[in-house]
Each structure stands twice: as structure tokens, then as C-alpha cells.
């Protein structure tokens, strides 16, 4: 409770000078683009009430709105016609929207209204780091507002190539435009991650979809799920291909040199438990992950990559006793929140294999997505066997990849294992 109060006060304290700083520039931006910014609502047709809201802006054509994929994901994931998309202008006008196309990888969606909505905003390249940016949207359904911040640069691949924005984005502002002084769009508001840390999708990705749609005379894509699958598969294969060609750092855990951080792609942390005087064995635990994901639906995200190494040293323990503890730790679980409507059960294959001259009991488990053909989760667990008082567990958890790419990445990693005693 105290912490919440503190956070609230801290937010107010940060917000107060921001308001005072409001320059004539932000006032003119607000008045100039107000007509081009809308709220998007996902309406449950059974109750007539909105289920999700976000922001959107007119771009390229007076009837075209751009927003985030995650704002309209409920509409997309319930294709039976239970939901509809509506827009709401700052002046209170509403109307139905049609979904034209999505880019699930960059969290973008393009919608079309039956009437002209406002003046289309222009798209510009990402300005240099430190440039003043103005983010527009409808935070928490409380009315349109403008948030000022600075461009802190494009994140590395581990953060989806997004722009780090110093302003404070709130739920409901997702899908709104972020402008520079010239009133051109450079990014689309996407998500908040902790206090005052917000991300923007570079508007260039939006430009790519819009160009394609323009060639097609703004006709809606036919099978959205097919499109989503293609984007996800294509992205998964490219991602793994890129990882395989990157320079992995190699570090020692126990008697093994193993692949650890991939600079610009994954980060590793030590997670070893603090040794206690009663411990008979020592364990060393390193966890690595790509710290990013692709949002598909509530509780469903893919594109995560996590791997971990646990080295166990049984010291002078009796081997049978050491192996009891070792066996108890040999259980791998998936971090994914995918449910029975999304994926099949895991099917597993277990056998013995030799890696760098050492024997491993290696298990590969696979489950497949129902709605995204060709997309799978891969869960791999390897246990070093054949050493009486030493053990190592290697777990690899990949979500929303293709089986072939996952296996290729696994091979790349295992081939990098080097036994050094």
C-alpha cells in the first residue's frame, strides 16, 4: 500500500513539471493533428459494450487508420463475428471499421472506415537520438492527450527493434502516433515497461504495409490467419538463421564450455542459489533469454527463446544419493501460457547421444499450434550422464518457431559444447 502511494506521488511529481513544460509547439501539434487521431474500440456484439480500446491515426488516405495489432487482437482471434471494430473521434463521431491487414511481428494493424475521417498524417524516418517527440492517444479512456518525451534510440534486436521513448505511455495510448515537430509520424505507441519507459514501433514498418495495400487499392487481406502464420513462420526462420550466424560468447560452466550470451540477441543471468552449510552438493545455474516476444492474444505470446545450464557438483556424495537429487531436478517445463485452444500436447523423444565426447540423455519435445500452421513450441532438455558425482542439465525453450529452425538452433548450440576437464 505504501509502495503504491509512493509510486502515485512519484508519478504526479514527474508529471507536474512535464505539464509546466508544455510549449507552444505541443499546443500547435495537438490542435493540428487532433482531427487525425481516433480511438479504436473492440465491441462485443452480444453486449454492445467495448471490450478493448486503443488509439489510432489517419494515414496515407483519409479513410485509413493505423493502430496496434494487440489493440484489435480480440477481434482477430474471434473470427466468428462476435466482435466488431468501431472508431470514436475527439468530437464524438463513431462508425464501423474494416480490418485490412496486420503485421503481427511489429504489432501493427491497418483499418478502413467507410467515410473520410481526417487529414492523413505523413510518415518520416526516425530522427536522431535526443530529438523531442510528441505522443498522442487516449490514456485509460480518459480523453485525448499528448505526452512529450525524447527519442532514446532504436533498441537492439532483443527488444524488437523498437524505439525507446522517455515519455510515459499508458494503456489506451497504444496505436496512437508519435510525431516530431514537423507533425510527421515517426513511431506508433506500443507498450509500457516499467516506470516511464515506453516503446514505439518505427513508422517505417507501417509504411511497408501501406505501400502494399495501396498497390492493391486498399483491399482487405483475405485470410488473416494465413497471413499471420506466414509472418510468424518467416520471422521465426529468419530469426534463427540470424542467431545461428551470430557470434555467440562461450563460457565455462563446470567442465563444459557452452554457448552463453549472443550480443544483441540474448542476455544471461546467474541464478545460482546461495550455498547453505548443510548442502552436500553445489549447483551453478545460468539462465539466458532473448527478453522479447510477439503478442498474439491474451496470455499467448510467441517468439521467446530461453536456455539454461545447471552444473551439479556432488563433491563426496555417494553416487546413488547424488543421482537421486540429480534425477529430481531433471524436469523441464515450458514458460509459455498457451492453452488447449492454442496448442497440442507435447510429444517427446528421448535417447542417448554423445556431445563433445560426453554422454547425454537428450529429450526433444514438440507441440504444434492449431491456428498457425507450421508453428511449434520446442522444449529440449539434456542431462549429462556417465559421471558418478557430476551432472549438467541443459534446457532450451523456444516458443512459436518452426520445428526445423528449432532443431537447427539446437544443433548449433550442442556443437558448441566443449568438454574441458
Amino acid at each position: 500500500m505504501l509502495l503504491r502511494l509512493f509510486l502515485l506521488l512519484a508519478t504526479l511529481w514527474v508529471a507536474a513539471p512535464a505539464c509546466a513544460e508544455n510549449t507552444s509547439s505541443s499546443i500547435s501539434i495537438y490542435s493540428d493533428v487532433e482531427q487525425s487521431v481516433y480511438q479504436v474500440q473492440v465491441i462485443n456484439l452480444q453486449t454492445g459494450k467495448k471490450n478493448a480500446i486503443g488509439s489510432a491515426f489517419v494515414v496515407m488516405d483519409p479513410t485509413i487508420l493505423a493502430t496496434n495489432y494487440h489493440v484489435v487482437s480480440t477481434y482477430i482471434n474471434n473470427p466468428k463475428g462476435d466482435f466488431a471494430l468501431d472508431y470514436l473521434s475527439t468530437t464524438g463521431e463513431t462508425g464501423r471499421l474494416e480490418l485490412l491487414a496486420v503485421d503481427v511481428i511489429h504489432d501493427l494493424a491497418v483499418l478502413k472506415a467507410t467515410t473520410a475521417l481526417g487529414k492523413p498524417l505523413q510518415i518520416a524516418k526516425i530522427p536522431p537520438k535526443g530529438t523531442r517527440l510528441y505522443s498522442l492517444g487516449n490514456p485509460m479512456d480518459k480523453g485525448f492527450s499528448i505526452v512529450e518525451g525524447t527519442n532514446n534510440g532504436v533498441m537492439k534486436s532483443s527488444d524488437d527493434n523498437n524505439i525507446l521513448f522517455s515519455g510515459s505511455l499508458n494503456p489506451g495510448m497504444s496505436g496512437g502516433p508519435t510525431l516530431i515537430d514537423t507533425k510527421e509520424v515517426v513511431g506508433v505507441n506500443v507498450a509500457t515497461s516499467g516506470n516511464g519507459l515506453s516503446y514505439l514501433v518505427p513508422a517505417e514498418y507501417l509504411a511497408i504495409i501501406l505501400e502494399r495495400l495501396k498497390l492493391n487499392n486498399f483491399k482487405a487481406d483475405e485470410d488473416i490467419f494465413q497471413r499471420l502464420s506466414e509472418q510468424l513462420l518467416n520471422n521465426a526462420d529468419k530469426y534463427v538463421q540470424r542467431l545461428r550466424n551470430m557470434a555467440w560468447t562461450s563460457e565455462r560452466i563446470g567442465h563444459f564450455m557452452v554457448p552463453m550470451d549472443i550480443p544483441g540477441a540474448t542476455r544471461c543471468w546467474d541464478n545460482s542459489t546461495k550455498p547453505s552449510p548443510d548442502d552436500l552438493m553445489h549447483s551453478y545455474f545460468t539462465q539466458c533469454s532473448n527478453e522479447s516476444s510477439i503478442y498474439l492474444d491474451d496470455d499467448l505470446e510467441v517468439g521467446t527463446l530461453a536456455y539454461e545450464y545447471i552444473w551439479l557438483d556432488g563433491n563426496n556424495m555417494m553416487p546413488a544419493r547424488f543421482y537421486r537429487q540429480y534425477e529430481a531436478m531433471n524436469a523441464s517445463v515450458s514458460n509459455s501460457g498457451a492453452g488447449k485452444q492454442d496448442v497440442s500436447n507435447f510429444a517427446c523423444f528421448t535417447d542417448f547421444t554423445a556431445v563433445s565426447g560426453q554422454e547425454f540423455k537428450l529429450t526433444i519435445c514438440r507441440r504444434d499450434y492449431f491456428n498457425y500452421a507450421g508453428l511449434s513450441d520446442l522444449l529440449v532438455t539434456a542431462a549429462l550422464v556417465g559421471n558418478k558425482r557430476e551432472g549438467m542439465l541443459f534446457n532450451l525453450d523456444m516458443t512459436g518457431t518452426t520445428f526445423t529452425s528449432g532443431m537447427a538452433l539446437l544443433q548449433r548450440m550442442l556443437e558448441d559444447f566443449k568438454w574441458q576437464k
Binding site: L280, F349, T350, F352, T353, Q411
Partner: protein, 318 residues
């Protein structure tokens, strides 16, 4: 005139009274010829008479708690009694038998064949020590922390009490049936019942690792240990220690095991149902063994990956 006897059935040790003179009165009162000190029997319950031809008639004297002759209730009219016949007076059973009824064979020794060693104190105590040792070793292997010896002994106490309780319970039941205490075989049975699951668990684990399959544990622990061990031990005890015939021993063993087996069956059913449901956890053979003895040799990585790819096709139509 055929000589006859009355058999007074009491559990484990029947009593016989020769009938020399008629009429014979039967009842709870002390002036009867045959006295049955059971409160479900009336003071003067029954009279047996014999006519000139040697036929025996039963004369029911009261109707308080009833009398049954060969399953049929008797009224106040005298009824002729064939030999042999069963009479039930209240809750008490009698049999009217002729003097030349054949005598059953003598049981030379209790504890026969398979069970013979288990009736010897040496083996019973050996089994007890093996069970205690097994439990101690199992606890020791399970704990991955530095602990005092006392810790393991305190963990053992509930199991020891359990063994003692069941040994007393089983020998107590034996006492009721045979009028003898049978500590040694009871101890053997209980020690075996404690020891065998550990053995099955250990053997199953080793076989699981050897075959890279969970089937051995499933059958040895889930099948043999959980479902067969209890009725088999009860049956063996009844048949070879208490000299029950095969079928009654089997029936009794099943009845006695019904409750624990029923509970286990419910658990098993739940588990089977849960296994068919969606689970986000993968199911694979997780056994590890310090001996590292396995049937299939370790494959080179490339071969392994090829085999895995073949073994894991897509589960969704593409």
C-alpha cells in the same frame, strides 16, 4: 439305533456331546442336558425326542428368539430331524451328527511350502531388518542435505510403529480364528509388505533407465506393488498359515483388500483421466542412474537429430 452327537459350534474349537438318553433338553438354564450359555438362547429352548423306530423329533419349546432346522424356521409342532442336521437356536449354531462322521485329516504343521521359512523367527527378524534397512537407505538417498543419524531414525519411527501395529493386528485376528498367537508369520508378512514396494521401486527405476521407458515402474509399482501385493500376501497368509482352502482364502483376501485397492483404483482412474487432458507440461522419461547402464548405445549427434525429427512429426494437419 444309530448313536448320535450334538456339535456345539464355537469359533475355531467345536464341542461335542454324546446323546445317550432321550429326551434331551437344550437351553440356557442349568437344569438342561445340553447347556448353551448364550443370551440369545431361551432358558428351556428345545427338546429332542426319539420314537421307537429311532427317529429323532425336535420340539420347539418357546418362540422367543426362534429356532431353525436346516434353514427352516420351526413352529410349535414337533418335527422329525434327519441326521445330520443343522439347528440354529437364537444366534447359536448346533449340528446333529452321527457318531461315525469321518474325522478330518490332521494338519501336521501350519506354515506350509512357500511360507515355511517365513514362520521361522530367524527369517522373520531378517525380513524386519531388511525392511528397516531398506527404509533407512531410501530416506538417506532421498535427502540431499547433511543430516544427523538421529534425523533418519526419527523418520523411521512412524514406519516401525506401523509395522508393530499391523503385526499385532494380524496376530490378534489369528488368535481369534485359531486360538493361537502367530507373531512370527504376521511379522514376516508385514515386513514383506514394507520391503517389497521399495524393491519394486528400485528395480523399476533401474529398468526404466535401461529401457528409456516408464513402463517398468508403471507395471511394477502401479500394478504389482499397488494392486497385487496386498491381496497376494493376505491370501498366502490365509492359505499357508491359517490353512484356509484356496477359494475361501482368495475371497477373504479380496474382501480385506477391497478398500485400499478401491481407493488406489480411484486414484489411478483420476490419473488416467488427467493424462488424457491437455497439459502444458511435457511427459518424457526423466530417470537418471549413476550406473548408467542402458540398452541402446549413445548415438552420434547428427544421427540422434535425424531420429528425433522422424519421431516427432507435426501433430496438426498442415
Amino acid at each position: 439305533m444309530a448313536k448320535m452327537m450334538i456339535e456345539i459350534q464355537t469359533r475355531g474349537l467345536n464341542q461335542y456331546q454324546r446323546l445317550a438318553h432321550f429326551p434331551v433338553t437344550i437351553g440356557r438354564a442349568l437344569d438342561n442336558d445340553v447347556i448353551l450359555s448364550d443370551r440369545s438362547v431361551s432358558p428351556h429352548h428345545l427338546r429332542l425326542e426319539q420314537d421307537e423306530d429311532g427317529q429323532v423329533f425336535v420340539h420347539n419349546l418357546v418362540l422367543e428368539n426362534g429356532t431353525r432346522l436346516n434353514e427352516h424356521p420351526l413352529g410349535e409342532q414337533p418335527v422329525q430331524v434327519p441326521i445330520p442336521s443343522q439347528l440354529v437356536l437364537g444366534d447359536r449354531k448346533l449340528r446333529l451328527v452321527s457318531m461315525d462322521t469321518p474325522v478330518e485329516n490332521t494338519y501336521v504343521s501350519h506354515c506350509r511350502s512357500l511360507f515355511a521359512p517365513l514362520c521361522k523367527p530367524f527369517w522373520a527378524i531378517m525380513l524386519l531388518f531388511m525392511a528397516i534397512g531398506g527404509l533407512l537407505v531410501n530416506d538417506y538417498l532421498d535427502v540431499g542435505l547433511q543430516k544427523d543419524l538421529l534425523f533418519y531414525f526419527s523418520g523411521l519411527l512412524p514406519s516401525l510403529l506401523w509395522i508393530l501395529f499391523w503385526t499385532l493386528a494380524i496376530s490378534g485376528i489369528t488368535r481369534l480364528i485359531t486360538h493361537r498367537w502367530e507373531f512370527t508369520p504376521a511379522l514376516s508378512v508385514v515386513a514383506l509388505f514394507s520391503l517389497m514396494p521399495l524393491v519394486f521401486q528400485e528395480v523399476g527405476g533401474a529398468l526404466n533407465y535401461f529401457l528409456t521407458s516408464d513402463a517398468p515402474t508403471m507395471w511394477l509399482v502401479g500394478g504389482v506393488s499397488d494392486f497385487l501385493l496386498l491381496p497376494v500376501l493376505v491370501y498366502a497368509y490365509l492359505h499357508w498359515v491359517l490353512n484356509q482352502r484356496h477359494l475361501p482364502a482368495l475371497g477373504f483376501a479380496l474382501v480385506l483388500s477391497a478398500l485400499p485397492l478401491g481407493l488406489r483404483a480411484i486414484n489411478l482412474l483420476d490419473q488416467v483421466t488427467a493424462d488424457k487432458e491437455f497439459s502444458s507440461d511435457p511427459y518424457y522419461n526423466q530417470t537418471l542412474s549413476s550406473l548408467n547402464i542402458h540398452a541402446r548405445p549413445a548415438l552420434p549427434l547428427a544421427d540422434y537429430l535425424k531420429k528425433a525429427t522422424e519421431a516427432l512429426p507435426s501433430q496438426v494437419e498442415e
